[in-house]
């Protein structure tokens, strides 16, 4: 437990500094813990494993989009748990499951188990992206899917470099909202 925290926190700090490999590792390792956490919670209240996967991805997106709110002086586990639980409560509210069904839990629960099963969520990111405004779509596709640099993406989309950054960020936020709407229905 302690080593997980220290290791993940180190990766997180590197990720905050812009290290893509650490970012990838920390998100991947958190997602397997989140999967175990959400499956445990949702199966107990009679929801499916694919819904758990939707939630895993919502939480991973939230962790990515809100990573600037992690205070490096604090442990990582409570921060991840707060986001994971917030998304769980939000999911339960919007899918109208009785609120009393979500048991109180401890921050360490979110790091307690790994689940590496290779599940898929119920939505398709490419399809959701079609619903984004043109600039956001182009910027995300260029930077996040094709891995172009900001300058290359700017040329491709006819935007300024800061325009690309803004559109990627707003686009991911909008995607997170679309995903949440998708899992409601």
């Amino acid at each position: 437990m302690k080593t997980t925290e220290a290791e993940l926190r180190g990766l997180m700090l590197a990720a905050l500094d812009g290290d893509a490999a650490s970012h990838r590792t920390v998100l991947a390792r958190l997602s397997s813990r989140l999967r175990a956490y959400y499956k445990g919670k949702l199966l107990r209240i009679g929801r499916s494993a694919s819904e758990a996967e939707d939630l895993v991805q919502e939480a991973v997106l939230a962790i990515h989009l809100k990573r600037h709110t992690y205070n490096p002086d604090e442990p990582l586990t409570p921060w991840v748990h707060a986001i994971a639980r917030y998304k769980l409560v939000d999911f339960v509210r919007r899918t109208r499951t009785s609120f009393a069904d979500v048991p109180i839990d401890d921050a360490d629960d979110v790091m307690a188990h790994d689940d590496h099963s290779d599940a898929e969520s119920s939505y398709d990111i490419r399809r959701l992206m079609e619903r984004l405004p043109k600039n956001m779509q182009c910027a995300i596709e260029a930077v996040k899917l094709d891995g172009l640099s900001t300058a290359e993406a700017a040329r491709k989309c006819g935007l300024s470099e800061s325009g690309v950054k803004v559109n990627v960020h707003r686009g991911l936020k909008t995607l997170a909202v679309l995903i949440a709407q998708e899992t409601k229905s």
């Binding site: 893509a20 970012h23 997106l61 748990h81 639980r85 899917l145 891995g147």
Partner: protein
């Protein structure tokens, strides 16, 4: 979509982020909301004209001490509430301290005064103006603070909303104090304390809807 693919998408070409942004954003929002409240008071009401007398000045300082105390303490908690899990480290006890102090002082001053003066001390001349002005001036500061909170990630929306309302009410009362000529402790306790409490309650009601992310 596979979660693995999502992780790949998110980790491609990432930018470094500044963890101090949350503090900066909240700080700027607090300063802006105080300035806006002050501006609204100056334009709509004006500073009280009798500040040359010692009594008026003393009461102004007392009102400012109360309202600044409320804003200062609640700002600390608002900064915490802006981050995931921050609600674990907020205690509502400490925020009650300025309110408890002013209520205590009000009770003492009522106790020392003959009961025939009580009506006058509690209602003052302008209780209705105070009751309306503080919540109205608080609207724009509340919107500014909520907008700043939305850039962060509160995970207890009701409490975050309540503290946003509390601070908005606090800065508004701070500005209103410069205009208000009702100089009695029971007046401050009831009408300042009460309107700030109303702002807090309204903030808590709006939180879950306005702060959701």
């Amino acid at each position: 979509m596979k979660t693995e693919d999502l992780v790949t998408v998110l980790s491609t070409r990432i930018e470094p982020v500044n963890h101090r942004m949350v503090g900066w954003t909240m700080g700027i929002a607090l300063a802006t909301s105080a300035l806006v409240a002050l501006g609204l008071m100056l334009v709509g009401l004006g500073i009280r004209a009798d500040l040359t007398t010692g009594r008026a000045l003393a009461f102004l300082l007392l009102k400012l001490a109360f309202t600044v105390g409320v804003v200062a303490i609640s700002s600390i908690y608002l900064m915490r509430l802006a981050r995931p899990g921050g609600e674990r480290r907020t205690s509502s006890i400490r925020i009650m301290m300025p309110f408890a102090a002013i209520v205590l002082l009000a009770a003492i001053s009522l106790g020392l005064a003959p009961s025939s003066h009580w009506d006058e001390m509690v209602l003052g001349d302008q209780w209705l103006e105070c009751l309306l002005s503080i919540p109205i001036i608080a609207i724009v500061p509340f919107a500014i603070i909520v907008a700043a909170m939305r850039k962060a990630a509160p995970t207890n929306l009701e409490r975050a909303g309540a503290f946003a309302g509390l601070i908005a009410g606090g800065v508004s009362a701070m500005a209103y104090a410069l205009h208000c000529t009702d100089d009695s402790l029971p007046f401050i306790a009831l009408w300042y304390g009460g309107t700030i409490a109303i702002c807090t309650w309204v903030g808590a009601r709006f939180g879950p809807q306005r702060l959701r992310w």
